[in-house]
Every structure is written in structure tokens, then in C-alpha cells.
């Protein structure tokens, strides 16, 4: 699919700039040109498609669906899928959380949404397709959704409502005034320019991260020796999974910046499962997110939430390394 782009990169670096294909610099530059362009094309396409999906499934409709339907335990799974298709913005997580809980959706089901939403997002998916191919992307997405399902279900088993902030409990007790909302009546073609614009905005927003991530990746590709991680960092040892996850949890990195670096880790000998676990912990949990959630939850609840998700990510890392 991207052969033409590879030809272009070869031509640009080896012929136009005249940098040899056998030099470190040539390899690194070629990789950089090829990857940046490929990723940007993929990003735009995926974000655009998700934009179309989202105009038909706004979050209010998903909430209504979860609220009305009797799903016999499947509500965790659906909530997790909805989390995956909704675009994630860290500043929306608090309004989302309250909206769900206020709408009578159980806390565990809300957590399913909250776990998957940052984990499986359009930017991460596009980066994954570009860097690891369709199969690995599918594994990432499916396991992200399962993780949200299981994590939410587990959290739903504890009695966590008393651990919400006082003002959230108040909201739950008093029914608040419902502001009037004008339903979208515009046709698909009327919405199209705006979907295109917002896809561009998202691509522009992550452009810098993509370039920095790929630049670091490209440099490492050219200079880090093969099997470096195997030889020096324990490669496939079991303890690398928890270690990678624990390092990644407090980190806050844009998926766009982190995937190219992870790709190099994998190319140089880190097992894909460990890499996926690292990635999930980086985008799924972070200190900034915890700070935001502090407005609606007690510290204890945040700790339980992070703890359960961290454990789930570690477990999935082990499972990947066995399966892949």
C-alpha cells in the first residue's frame, strides 16, 4: 500500500541528497521521511473516519443506549466499545464521568468507558497500523476493549460510591435542571467540511509529536545495535512487563510520540507484548489524568482505579507475550 512512498523516500535520500543507503545517516533519514509521511496519511484517514462515526453516535446517544437497554452483563463490554469509538480528550473525562453517573449508569460501567476511552483512541490506532501493521493493531484494540470490560466489571464489584467527592454525591441526590439541547438537524454533507476541518486540526495538533517521536525512532534505528535490549535490558524476562508498566503509568505521553519509539524497542528485541503493555500504561493512565479525576473522586478511589487498571495491563502484557 505504501510502496510508492518507500520509492519516494529512497529517491529523495539516496539520489537527490546523495546519502548512501549503507550509511547510518542514510538509513535513519530514509526511515524518517517514509514513516512521517505514512503516519500522517494514516492519521488523517483514521481520524476522518472516526469523525464520521462520531457524528452518528454522539456520546449522549451512547449514554441513552446504556441507560435504556437491559444488557445482562454485556453493558460493561458495550460501554468499553463506546469508550473506544469516542474521541478522547483528557479535559472531557470529568464531564463524561459525571454525565454517566448522573444518568443512572452504574459506576463499574462508567469505569469501563473511562478505561478504554484514552486507551483505544484514533491517534493510537493510526500510529499502530503505521508502525506495527493491521494484525498487531487488531490485537491492541481488542485487548484494550477487553481490558476496559474486565477492569470496569472488577471495579463494579467493590462498593465504591461512598468514595466519590461530596459534590458528586450531591449531584446524584438532587436531580439537576436539564438544560435544553437543540438536536443536530444538519445533513451529512453539511457536516462534512467540519469533520474534515477537525480531522486536520487533530493531525496538526499531533504533528509535532509525530515528528519528534519518529525522529527519535529514526535515530535509534540507525544507531542502536540489533538485539540491544536482549543483550542489555533483559529482553524477554518476565519481570520486564511489570517494570515497563510501572515506569509508564505516571508518564504522560501522546500516543503519536510514543508509538514510533516503541516500534524501535520491538525492532531491537523487546517482545511485542511488553511493548503493548508499556504503551497502554502510558496513554491509559497518567498523573495529569489523576489530577483531573481528583475533582470527582477521593484519592483512595483513584488509587483503586489506577491499581486495578495497572494490574489488568500487566496481565495482558503477560498474555500477549505468551500468545504472540
Amino acid at each position: 500500500m505504501f510502496d510508492w512512498l518507500q520509492h519516494f523516500a529512497d529517491w529523495l535520500i539516496y539520489s537527490v541528497f546523495g546519502i548512501g543507503a549503507e550509511t547510518h545517516l542514510g538509513v535513519a533519514l530514509n526511515f524518517f521521511i517514509y514513516d512521517t509521511n505514512k503516519i500522517l496519511i494514516l492519521l488523517f484517514v483514521i481520524v476522518f473516519i472516526m469523525g464520521i462515526v462520531n457524528t452518528y453516535f454522539p456520546i449522549e446517544r451512547l449514554k441513552d443506549y446504556l441507560n435504556r437497554k437491559k444488557l445482562y452483563g454485556l453493558e460493561y463490554f458495550f460501554s468499553s466499545i463506546f469508550g473506544a469509538i469516542t474521541p478522547f480528550c483528557s479535559c472531557s473525562s470529568v464531564p463524561l464521568f459525571i454525565g454517566f453517573v448522573q444518568g443512572g449508569i452504574p459506576l463499574g460501567v462508567t469505569f469501563s468507558f473511562l478505561i478504554t476511552s484514552p486507551l483505544v483512541n484514533e491517534v493510537a490506532v493510526a500510529m499502530f497500523i503505521g508502525m506495527f501493521g493491521l494484525k498487531a493493531t487488531l490485537i491492541y484494540v481488542v485487548s484494550g476493549i477487553l481490558l476496559g470490560t474486565i477492569g470496569g466489571w472488577l471495579l463494579g464489584k467493590f462498593n465504591l460510591e461512598p468514595l466519590l467527592s461530596d459534590w458528586v454525591k450531591q449531584i446524584l441526590d438532587n436531580n439537576m435542571q436539564q438544560a435544553e439541547f437543540q438536536e443536530e438537524k444538519r445533513t451529512f454533507y453539511q457536516r462534512l467540511p467540519e469533520i474534515t476541518n477537525s480531522a486536520w486540526d487533530i493531525v496538526k495538533g499531533v504533528l509535532l509529536y509525530v515528528i519528534i517521536g519518529i525522529a527519535i525512532g529514526a535515530a535509534m534505528h540507525g544507531y542502536v545495535p540489533e538485539n540491544f535490549f536482549n543483550d542489555y535490558l533483559g529482553g524477554g524476562e518476565w519481570w520486564t512487563v511489570p517494570l515497563a508498566v510501572i515506569i509508564a503509568v505516571p508518564m504522560y505521553a501522546n500516543a503519536a510520540g510514543i508509538v514510533p519509539v516503541i516500534e524501535v524497542f520491538v525492532a531491537k528485541g523487546v517482545p511485542l507484548g511488553t511493548a503493548i503493555a508499556f504503551m497502554m500504561a502510558t496513554v491509559g493512565l497518567s498523573i495529569p489524568e489523576a489530577t483531573l479525576l481528583k475533582k470527582v473522586m477521593s484519592l483512595k478511589l483513584i488509587a483503586i482505579f489506577f491499581g486495578v487498571v495497572t494490574l489488568c495491563i500487566m496481565l495482558s502484557g503477560f498474555v500477549f507475550n505468551i500468545l504472540l
Binding site: C91, P95, A179
Partner: protein
Amino acid sequence: MSKVIKILGTGCPKCKSMTSVVNDVVSENNIEATIEKVEDIMEIMKFNVMSTPALVIDDVITIKGRVPSKAEVLALLN
């Protein structure tokens, strides 16, 4: 009649771009309106919105979760 415009958002990049779009529309078209930024999450939740930024004109939520174009905001204000 002067309109009351409220922009709900906790300060993410999207909320900032919505604010600048609305500011531009109001000043370019000499619309009589007061623009208020609502950044406190507790206040935002009183409007029952689940995705920010949201645009509230005279207490009616008109847009939520996305940044509108100038033309769209102008149409909403007229």
C-alpha cells in the same frame, strides 16, 4: 437585545479555539453580546453537558464537544 454567550470548558486546546472563534465573530460583526468563560467544572456540570467545549447562547446549549466554524456561530447568533 444583548445576548449572553457562555463558553463551557476546562481550558483544553479545543475550548481555547472555540473562545477565539466566538470572540472573532462577535467583534467582526459588531454583535451586542457578553461573552463569559465558564471554567469551573461544577458550574459546567450544571448545564448537563458531557463533552466540552460547549457553547451556550441565552441559556440554550447550541454546540457541544466540537469547535464550530465562524459561519456557524454567526448563524446561531442571528
